[in-house]
Symmetry: C2
Subunit: 154 residues, 2 copies
């Protein structure tokens, strides 16, 4: 119990401190960072989307590896959206104002990206092509849902 | 033993397949991806470098979190340097030709980044400010060493 409480406190402290540290960054830097996180996520989703469409040879091991990466990466972009980083001077952003208006909904979608990717990693370990492709589709739905609600169309 | 062998084989297979998948990408896409990975790494190293210079308040929990991230992230950039991605048409690269001439040395430095970051995460868990700052310096040395040898000055 003591350990758990300490760990929980540690998480809260990291949360607060990280927010403080990252809220102090320039909007342009935050925009550049969050774009980079989405680029890295896109690179890792790419072959999975390709498998779903039949454009990349099916590969359960690669699906598993990239799904694990997506689960991890889902936790990274959020701190790139601190208060005030809805507009930059140099960096163009495709982030909608709705991100700062509905932060909980936005955060939930990243959590869902993480949980659906974790599920994909599990399914991928089974090697079942049909089940893997179905679950890739579930991850893709989360991506689309978030882009529809929170990203300017381009 | 059987499990270990299978895991090792899986890693090799993923390596081969991932190389095949990612070697087929356009140089511009590879350049954009690897730049994004370095941006995400830089964002996470930033507060650590700041702590070392006294520009960011010392925070052992944040140091631990970011060190763990750096350990993970160290494995991501390499596939952004496939054969042929030394030049792009649109994307500017600051990658030196030496990356493709001395791939093992380049790879070793990313492994060292991972191991020194892992050590930082361990040291950070102790909360010892002096030891943490010393180890942040060790991680910084790896960054500098790789940039000196493999990145065009800018």
């Amino acid at each position: 119990m003591k350990v758990l409480k300490k760990a929980a406190l540690g998480a809260v402290l990291v949360g607060i401190t990280a927010s403080t540290v990252y809220a102090a960054v320039k909007p342009d830097d935050a925009i550049e960072y969050r774009k980079a996180t989405m680029e890295v996520i896109g690179w890792n989703f790419g072959p999975l989307g390709g498998m779903l469409k039949g454009k990349v040879p099916f590969d359960a091991a690669l699906a598993k590896r990239n799904a694990e990466r997506l689960e991890y990466l889902a936790a990274l972009p959020l701190e790139g959206f601190p208060p005030g980083a809805d507009k930059g001077e140099k960096e163009k952003t495709t982030a909608k104002e709705t991100i700062w208006e509905e932060p909980d909904k936005f955060k939930d979608l990243f959590e869902k990206m993480g949980s659906e990717s974790a599920k994909l990693a599990e399914v991928a370990a089974s090697g079942d092509e049909g089940a893997i492709k179905t679950q890739i589709g579930e991850v893709a739905k989360v991506c689309k849902s978030c882009h529809d609600d929170f990203r300017v169309k381009h």
